[in-house]
């Protein structure tokens, strides 16, 4: 394969909060993203999956430069984005765009669909002819499945799914090469989710985009990802090719996530429940467990998991996992 367009290396983001009042001020560190590395090629989609609090959105924002990472590098076409000055980073946004989770809250209610979609053009190409901007905006609307004659409508006149289409058009209007989608469908109805996933997939194929698709549900990313990365409490648990991951997950956490996806079939659902689910809640992120970060909820833990942090390592067939027992566990579905 040719060179990756994006190479994330040992990326870490800490949030610091204070407790204990003015005099006995204590600092607490929350490691939201804790040493994440992965690569992404042109025309490739990586799905990033984890529960809330796993750091997946923070990771997405750090890649875009919306949050300054504490450590690590984000190499975009050979350039380290984390070291760029503000203006240089701003110019990179032509190439890297984002689609947000809440389709309605992420659109300005006082702007028309046309204004929203064309705003990036005015920002980056202030001298562009008005007619040209309008033509491009209408073209984008058509591309994402909106009617170009809706150009003067306001967000409240659109449904949730249509608002997300506006968000996608806005992200694509500058012809980016990488689009980061932060839970783009989790606020939508099931029937509309499928529309948006198919749309993103089509556009990705058509435009040769690299796509990062963040979700909390493995079933949603299944249809769109080439590879899937599973995060837990800021750490990378597994990165696998899609086919392999859904056939035989390497990490017990991946397997647990898969088992918790609801099945729309009463008999199969009852059978699936015989398998134990993930119990308990995620531990406090201020006091993460020692050793393997997942050991407090892992049904397969052994003594070693409580003491040694498992490194992310490459398995024979090329997928990555951070589990001491990856070789002797068979988590096939």
């Amino acid at each position: 394969m040719n060179n990756p367009v994006l190479r994330v290396q040992d990326l870490a983001v800490n949030f610091i909060s204070h407790t204990g009042g003015l005099l006995r001020r204590k600092e607490r560190i929350l490691r939201a993203v804790n040493g994440i590395s992965f690569e992404l090629h042109a025309s490739e989609t990586i799905g990033i999956v984890g529960e809330s609090g796993s750091g997946k959105s923070t990771l997405a924002r750090a890649i875009l430069g919306l949050i300054k990472p504490n450590r690590g590098r984000v190499m975009w076409l050979g350039e380290n984005l984390t070291e760029l000055e503000e203006e240089a980073l701003r110019q990179k946004r032509k190439e890297i765009q984002i689609v947000f989770q809440d389709p309605i809250a992420s659109l300005n209610p006082r702007m028309t669909a046309g204004d929203i979609i064309s705003e990036p053009l005015w920002t980056f190409y202030p001298n562009m002819a008005r007619l040209q901007v309008e033509e491009r905006t209408r073209g984008m609307m058509k591309m994402v499945g909106l009617l170009p004659n809706q150009i003067n409508r306001y967000p409240h006149e659109f449904s949730g799914g249509q608002c997300q289409r506006i968000g996608i058009a806005r992200a694509l209007v500058l012809n980016p090469r990488l689009v980061v989608c932060d839970e783009p469908v989790s606020a939508l109805d099931v029937s509309i989710q499928a529309q948006i996933i198919n749309l993103l997939k089509d556009l990705q194929k058509k435009l040769g985009l690299a796509l990062i698709f963040v979700a909390h549900d493995l079933s949603v990313v299944k249809h769109i990802s080439d590879r899937v990365m599973v995060m837990y409490m800021g750490c990378n648990m597994e990165v696998s090719q899609r086919e392999a991951l859904y056939r035989r997950p390497l990490h017990p956490y991946t397997s647990a996530l898969m088992k918790s996806v609801p099945i729309p079939d009463p008999k199969l659902a009852a059978e699936a429940r015989q398998d134990s689910w993930l119990t308990g809640d995620m531990p406090s992120p201020y006091e993460p467990p020692k050793g393997c970060i997942f050991h407090t909820r892992c049904p397969y833990k052994v003594k070693r998991c409580e003491a040694d942090v498992p490194a992310l390592r490459r398995m024979e067939h090329g997928d990555w996992v951070a589990c001491h027992r990856a070789e002797d566990l068979d988590l096939s579905i």
């Binding site: 529960e51 809330s52 449904s159 949730g160 799914g161 249509q162 109805d189 099931v190 029937s191 509309i192 989710q193 499928a194 529309q195 996933i197 198919n198 997939k201 909390h216 549900d217 493995l218 079933s219 949603v220 299944k222 249809h223 899609r242 859904y246 647990a256 996530l257 898969m258 088992k259 918790s260 996806v261 609801p262 099945i263 729309p264 079939d265 009463p266 199969l268 659902a269 009852a270 429940r273 689910w277 993930l278 119990t279 809640d281 995620m282 579905i333």
Partner: protein, 340 residues
């Protein structure tokens, strides 16, 4: 006698743009110990339906019809009477556990208030009761946790607190509006299982409202599918999942992304968007999104009802899967030939 019987329930809202008919004549009944799921997209009217039953509509909303709970019509009941039933005999769990709890009060305060009000328990007794309930929903270390504030709980634990509060007075009917939608899939599974277990223990009835059929597959007895304010299909859980009749139900089921299916690139979708309630299409409301729609669908489709209570609002025959023969408008002769 059914525990709850709803007849011809209608809800409308006065808005600056005009009158919105959110629920358009819904009938259903619920036996004791039974669990009913009401499924539909946003805007289908499923939440407003139960809000109307509970007398909780927004100020610009009004409702008509009947909702007989143990023989008494909730819709005609004065506010004071209703207050005795709400929380005590009918409890409700809302979608968002973050905003349904008061951030300024401890969990203990919020939980004991309910039983002290409805059952006249003393503070001490009420506290014991609250701790017991927290234990039942598997909050670890409930004696200590009860003293904490909502922000000290995770999302899943907050929803468990909501369930515990709902169950405090041992209601006969629990209404849960998307109880697991705001939660992670992992927690969602736990919550639905917990709700099912508690129901089995207490023999209460339940109404579950959801937009995701998969979530209720295991837990409900019967399902009503709503679309744009109308009931489009009703049936037992097996009917809906294994023999869905209405094209909308079929589409809903097919668009659930599944792990146990191959990732055959295209996900099935229902094209288009739910209709604007201010500007409804004539005839079948699902017509514009239905791949099977014909000319006849410009007329209002009939509600077919079978002996076993299964219903479908469609021109497609529930049994044969063929379009019903076209009837001439004037006579009731339904042996007329299919002229399409």
């Amino acid at each position: 006698m059914a525990l709850l019987e709803v007849r011809d329930l209608r809800v409308q809202f006065e808005t600056p743009e005009g009158v919105v008919q959110a629920v358009n004549g819904i009938d259903f009944h619920l036996e004791s110990g039974e669990t009913l799921a009401i499924v539909g997209e946003s805007g289908a009217g499923k939440s407003q339906l139960v809000m109307a039953i509970m007398g909780l509509l927004a100020e610009n909303g009004s409702a008509s019809g009947a909702a007989d709970f143990k023989g008494q019509d909730l819709m005609q009941m004065p506010q004071k009477e209703l207050n005795k039933i709400r929380g005590r005999e009918i409890a409700m769990i809302f979608q968002d556990p973050m905003t349904s709890l008061n951030p300024f009060l401890t969990i203990e305060k919020q939980m004991t208030e309910v039983v002290m009000h409805h059952q006249g328990l003393g503070k001490h007794e009420a506290r014991g009761h609250a701790v017991e309930m927290l234990r039942a929903v598997r909050i670890p270390d409930p004696e200590e946790r009860v003293k904490q504030y909502p922000h000290e709980y995770s999302g899943g634990m907050r929803q468990r607190v909501m369930i515990a509060m709902g169950l405090l007075c041992e209601p006969d009917l629990l209404i849960a509006d998307e109880p697991s939608t705001a939660l992670d899939v992992t927690v969602q599974a736990q919550i639905m299982q917990l709700v099912g277990e508690l129901r089995d223990k207490s023999n209460m009835s339940m109404i579950l409202i959801t937009h995701d059929l998969a979530v209720v597959a295991e837990i409900c007895d019967r399902i009503i599918v709503m679309y744009a304010g109308e009931m489009v299909e009703a049936g037992t859980v097996d009917d809906i999942f294994y023999r869905p009749r209405h094209p909308y139900t079929q589409g809903l089921l097919a668009s659930v992304p599944r792990l146990d299916r191959l990732a055959d690139d295209e996900l099935h979708t229902i094209p288009g968007n739910p209709p604007n309630l201010l500007d409804l299409p004539s005839g079948c409301r699902f017509r514009d999104r239905c791949s099977l729609a014909r000319e006849v669908c410009f007329e209002a489709p009939p509600l077919q009802v079978q002996d076993d209570g299964c219903m479908s609002r469609c021109f497609i025959d529930m049994n044969s899967g063929e379009f019903l023969p076209v009837q001439s408008n004037s006579d009731e002769d339904n042996t007329g030939e299919d002229s399409m």
